[in-house]
């Protein structure tokens, strides 16, 4: 387990935020799943954008 703080990534198309701490359990992505461990074929739950359209959200 990484001891780095959880990060958040944002879809630049629609603003949807992927929060590593929360994951998306309803779609099989468990809480605590790091962004790099999210499958490459992941698409934004809001607009369907590919993973490549997400950027790290600086808090």
């Amino acid at each position: 387990m990484s001891d780095q703080p959880y990060r958040r990534y944002q879809c630049v198309i629609c603003g949807e935020i992927y929060d590593e701490a929360l994951g998306v359990p309803e779609l099989g992505v468990a809480p605590g799943t790091r962004w790099e461990d999210v499958p490459d074929d992941w698409t934004c739950v809001d607009c369907g954008a590919p993973k490549s359209e997400y950027v790290l959200l600086e808090d």
Binding site: V12, I13, C14, G15, I17, E26, V45, D46, C47, G48
Partner: protein, 436 residues
């Protein structure tokens, strides 16, 4: 395979008046039948080019996530007759539409223009507006309650409140909002006898296009001086962002700039208004729902999301295929038109359990009311904020609510919601004491 839908079955969906019947039951019943018997079929309605009617949730997501296959810019983005399309081309010198909004663009043009304002609509940016939006909600609620029972919730609150929010974000003063609200109705509700441009013959295609041109020019005459002023002296408003925005290193051209402001100044409030009005209508007829939400405010975010699915104000957008494409086993040919029924997708029995039940605890609730794909609604997070704040402020002040007279739906096959929701209400006791 190319399955045809019987003309007599689909024809009512091409008539704006059908959408004004009751609480849109005629449309719900029509699309329920289509989802069952013709989930994707070809409509060959006389006077129109053939349209593939996409009724299923997953199919709408597939089409809207393939922007390069299903274009937005090549033909009318909304349902248009052959006569209307020809008149439009004659009128504009060959263009498919008068406006060139984000809705009417394809990539790379769409992404470049959207990027000019995109970050202003991210949820973390919109969240900072909450105290400011809440102040506006409180003022509209105060004014509404002051008018007393029997007041039309649609015209007195649901229409002007979100209009004031977005038009203020754009930097336009309150005294101009009524005019801009009227222009919105003339554009989106051109076929409704109560909301159309006064004096317009709503059955004459040439007159309809003339109305759109009048609306475009009225907007242009209003926007351009303000754009020029903001280029000289930028202000802290969204019009300044667009006025000084660049695409490929150049200012946005005039038609695209006017259209950009038009889409924000119209779609930026009209669908929120329709959803808010529909939600009040729904609660006024369902006291159990009203009391459940009032007594459980933690349900409000889910309630708002379900209200958006429930209202689904944008009925349809039309795209054209740039190549042959097989969808649900149907062979769509290059150049053919594809009609996306968002209201049908949001009632799809395979995507939503009990879709005709208003369930504030529906989860997940990934509806299509804001569309899907790169064209997803820019203002969706603002719309959610406006509605949540309104209900947070209004529900504690009401003891009960009921319809004072029958509501009325807009006769529009494009953006469709209630145009009249007269309600009676009793104030909550602590509010009565405060007033006394």
């Amino acid at each position: 395979m190319r399955t045809k839908i019987p003309v007599e079955l689909i024809e009512p969906a091409f008539n704006p008046a059908t959408f004004g019947i009751g609480r849109r039951e005629a449309i719900d019943n029509l699309f329920r039948r289509l989802r069952k018997d013709y989930p994707l079929g070809l409509a060959e309605v006389p006077g129109y080019d053939p349209h593939w009617i996409v009724t299923k949730y997953n199919d709408i997501r597939e089409v809207t996530s393939h922007d390069s296959v299903f274009h937005s810019a090549d033909r009318s983005k909304t349902l248009a007759s052959q006569i209307a399309e020809k008149l439009m081309r004659d009128y504009t010198g060959g263009l498919p539409t008068i406006f060139k909004t984000l809705v009417h663009m394809d990539d790379p043009e769409h992404a470049k223009h959207r990027a000019v304002t995109q970050a202003r609509f991210y949820p973390q940016v919109i969240a900072k507006l909450e105290p400011w939006v809440r102040e506006k909600a409180r003022r509209y609620i105060d004014e509404f309650i002051e008018k007393g029972p029997g007041t039309d919730f649609a015209t007195e609150l649901a229409f002007p409140y979100p209009a004031e929010v977005v038009l203020s974000i754009l930097g336009f003063p309150r005294e101009d909002h009524t005019k801009l609200l009227d222009l919105t109705h003339w554009l989106f509700c051109y076929a409704d006898p109560d909301l159309c441009r006064p004096g317009a013959n709503i059955t004459d295609p040439q007159e309809i296009i003339r109305t759109w041109d009048i609306v475009y020019n009225e907007f242009k005459d209003y926007f351009l001086p303000r754009v020029l002023a903001r280029r000289k002296c930028p202000m802290d408003d969204l019009t300044s962002v667009i006025a000084n925005g660049e695409v490929d290193g150049c200012p946005i051209n005039e038609r695209n700039l006017v259209s950009y402001l038009v889409i924000l100044a119209t779609a930026g409030h009209d669908s929120s208004a329709a959803t808010t009005a529909m939600t009040m209508w729904t609660m006024a007829e369902n006291p159990a729902l009203f009391h459940r939400i009032k007594e459980n405010p933690q349900l409000l975010p889910g309630f708002v999301e379900e209200s958006i699915r429930w209202a689904s104000p944008v009925q349809q957008f039309v795209r054209s295929a740039t190549q042959d494409y097989t969808l649900r086993g149907q062979d769509i040919k290059k150049g053919e038109l594809v009609y996306l029924s968002y209201v049908s997708g949001n009632r799809d029995e395979e995507a939503f359990k009990d879709p005709f039940t208003f369930d504030p605890e529906r989860k997940p609730n990934r509806h299509l009311a804001f569309s899907y794909g790169p064209h997803i609604c820019l203002g969706q997070h603002l719309a959610r904020l406006e509605m949540r704040v309104l209900w947070e402020e209004l529900l504690p002040r009401l003891e009960s609510v009921e319809m004072a007279a029958p509501g009325k739906f807009t006769e529009s096959e494009f953006v469709c919601g209630p145009k009249s929701v007269p309600i009676n209400f009793k104030l909550a006791k602590q509010v009565e004491r405060a007033v006394a």
